[in-house]
């Protein structure tokens, strides 16, 4: 069975219907890219899947690992292995990055009935991940995202993902606002985490990221629905011809 099955999902934000019957299946080990014009519902999808307040599902279902994902609180979704890399990571002054990450890591383990890590064990894990992500440990001593550049924030998201080791990672426009070097760093991080047990949902506006993280499937989201699906060549086609002419309402 697929890891993630989204069926006929309808969702509203502030009374306005954004998702209008979205269906999608994702298997373990796969990388899916969700592309689409502004306002198509890309970020809404990420927010609905991670459980943000204010996103009202009016019909349809999301089944993750055989359970009803929408019935879970955000923290329970995280513990079940769902991770959202934010488009706009939040700055949290006064909360140390390492402290935060250990609290998250241990909360997830506790929720799963696993033994929590003490600070020494956790530090060892973090050091290993830093090496893989090629991130300087100076970042660990700062408050969560406080004063981080755009690129640092996105890399911190990927770093958190590396430590938390989710089953399903949703990357919400992780490429936006990055210069080419930062984009490559982020892509390297994602590629290092690809595995047969893990699935990725990469939400993006541009084809650029897909040059570095090559997807197994590309879907075009327009006006709240998947209007076309294909392999990576679809992304190149979109790059060439734009979103116009794909599905109805795609130009909106």
């Amino acid at each position: 069975m697929s890891m993630l099955i989204i069926e006929n999902l309808h969702a509203r934000v502030e009374g306005k219907e954004i998702l209008k019957g979205l269906s999608l299946s994702v298997n373990a080990g796969e990388v899916h890219a969700i592309m689409g014009p502004n306002g198509a519902g890309k970020s809404t999808l990420g927010n609905v899947l991670s459980g943000r307040d204010g996103y009202e599902v009016t019909s349809g279902s999301v089944t993750y690992d055989g359970i009803d994902l929408l019935a879970l609180e955000p923290e329970a979704r995280a513990a079940a292995g769902v991770f959202l890399a934010f488009q706009y990571p939040v700055e949290i002054p006064g909360v140390n990055n390492t402290y935060f990450l250990r609290a998250a890591f241990n909360a997830q383990r506790k929720a799963r009935g696993e033994k929590e890590f003490d600070s020494m064990q956790f530090l060892k894990l973090v050091r290993e991940k830093l090496k893989v992500m090629q991130i300087s440990d100076e970042l660990l001593h700062r408050a969560v995202n406080e004063g981080f550049s755009g690129g640092e924030k996105k890399r911190n998201e990927i770093f958190q993902m590396a430590v938390l080791e989710p089953q399903l990672a949703i990357l919400d426009e992780t490429d936006s606002g990055l210069d080419i070097d930062a984009l490559k760093h982020v892509a390297d991080g994602v590629n290092a985490l690809r595995s047969p047990d893990r699935a990725f949902l990469m939400i993006t506006h541009y084809q650029r990221l897909l040059d570095y993280v090559v997807p197994d499937f590309v879907h075009v989201l327009a006006d709240g629905r998947i209007v076309e699906s294909g392999d990576k060549s679809l992304a190149l086609k979109l790059e060439e011809h734009g979103y116009a002419g794909l599905g109805e309402g795609a130009a909106a």
Binding site: S50, G51, R52, D53, E73, P74, E75, R77, A78, A79, F83, L84, F86, P89, V90, I92, P93, G94, V95, F100, L101, A103, A104, F105, A107, Q108, A111, V144, Q160, L164
Partner: protein, 439 residues
């Protein structure tokens, strides 16, 4: 202010013989203050300084003055033990000095630390000016000072702390004020006099604790004077029981290039009020305060900060955080005056507040009056709730809602402890903050 019939509280506070010192000027000052208190009664909320702190309920209570059994009340050392703090200590229980709980042996040279009653007995004259002064407060603007008057009338003891010029006291000095359970609801008063000589350096920890029951009312009035170039680090941990009402007034006077740094945690109490006043009277004097007030349940915690810049190039910084939960009330007033001639002064004040429940309330009032030139001044106050985006961010990483709220609230408060130099103490105070957070 005229009152048709004296309030039960006023009656009960007056229904005690004044302590007899045998010192003419002191007895006179006590009588004067008592008469002034009897005449003025308690301020009501029409008095600006008491606008947000109503004394109606407290005014209906009666308290018994003084505790005959204070010398024998059992107080565990753990009540006031602090990590990294093992120096001179002066302990009062229900307003009475307790030699057995204090640590006054082998005081370092240049440090005088003793009960005020002892100092008055040995040589009252040096204390004359400071102890007579409250009697001078008689004009209408100070009508809110009822508790200072009754304190001046009734306090028989307190702290006398003096650091000689040029002396740096290595170990922090601990002042502990304990309210211990008695058979009746007690009122007690203490009067502290603290003086740092030229270039002296002292680290001071002031603790207020009490037993859960029965209710108490305590007043503590402190005068702190820093002579030229003196340095004071002052940490206040107010963690009295929920039934205790505590009214304090601290007046700090800073001479040229003196520097006081205060860190305050206001955590406990039923009705708690602290009037903290600083006068920067010498050029280059510097006064920094950091504080948190965290009322919950039905607590009411009121901090009134008043800073007067009266000399050239003086500086003050004030960073205060308030967190109110349940149906609690927090009040903060930060009034800064830069007096004529205090050119080149620099004053900044920030008070940010969090409301953790719909029934909680915080009233904050920054005030800035500038009468000098080339002054830098900034002040701001906010009242808000926990940031939803931050909460979601933490939850999306697996941190449960309650834990996420506690983490953000602690972070919000902890900023005021950042520059507390004693690391063990900072960790301990940080722990007290976290312990106060809703589970």
């Amino acid at each position: 202010m005229s009152q048709s019939a004296p309030l039960p509280l006023v009656e009960s506070l007056l229904d005690v013989p004044l302590p007899a010192s045998g010192i003419a000027w002191l007895d006179a000052a006590r009588h004067e203050n008592r008469a002034a208190f009897a005449a003025a009664g308690l301020p009501d909320t029409r008095v600006e300084a008491w606008k947000y702190t109503a004394l109606r309920a407290l005014g209906q209570r009666r308290f018994t003055h003084g505790d005959d059994g204070a010398a024998l009340r059992a107080v565990a050392a753990s009540t006031f033990a602090l990590p990294g703090v093992d120096g001179p200590r002066l302990v009062f229980v229900n307003g009475v000095f307790r030699a057995d709980l204090s640590a006054l042996d082998a005081l370092p040279a240049g440090l005088t630390l003793q009960p005020l009653s002892q100092a008055l007995h040995d040589d009252p004259e040096p204390l004359r000016f400071v102890l007579s002064r409250p009697a001078l407060i008689g004009d209408a603007r100070e009508v809110g000072d009822a508790f200072t008057r009754i304190n001046a009338a009734s306090a028989a003891d307190g702290v006398m702390l003096r650091v000689a010029a040029g002396v740096k006291v290595a170990a922090p000095v601990q002042l502990v004020f304990v309210g211990a359970a008695a058979d009746v609801e007690l009122a007690w008063h203490l009067r502290n006099v603290i003086e740092l000589g030229e270039g002296a350096d002292l680290s001071l920890i002031e603790q207020h604790v009490s037993d859960a029951e029965p209710a108490q009312l305590a007043t503590v009035v402190s005068d702190i004077e820093l002579h030229e170039g003196a340095q004071l680090h002052h940490a206040v941990v107010q963690n009295v029981a929920i039934a205790t009402s505590l009214i304090r007034r601290s007046s700090v006077r800073l001479h040229a290039r003196a520097h006081a740094m205060l860190h305050a945690l206001e955590l406990g109490g039923a009705l708690v009020r602290h009037d903290l006043r600083a006068e920067l009277v010498g050029d280059g004097a510097c006064f920094d305060t950091r504080g948190v007030f965290m009322p919950h349940g039905r607590q009411h915690i009121d901090t009134q900060l008043a800073i007067r810049h009266q000399a050239l190039n003086t500086r003050s910084t004030s960073t205060w955080r308030g967190v109110a939960n349940d149906r609690a009330r927090g009040v903060f007033r930060g009034a800064i005056v830069v007096a004529p001639g205090a050119d080149g002064s620099d004053a900044s004040l920030s008070n940010k507040n969090l409301l953790l429940s719909p029934g909680a309330e915080i009233d904050t009032k920054p005030e800035l009056e500038i009468y000098a030139d080339e002054v830098k001044a900034a002040h701001g106050a906010t009242v808000g709730q926990l940031d939803e985006r931050s909460l979601f961010y933490l939850r999306s990483r697996g941190i449960p809602l309650a834990e996420a709220r506690a983490l953000l609230t602690a972070a919000f408060c902890r900023a005021v402890l950042d520059d507390l130099p004693n690391e063990a103490l900072r960790e301990h105070l940080s722990g007290l903050l976290v312990a106060q957070l809703p589970a």
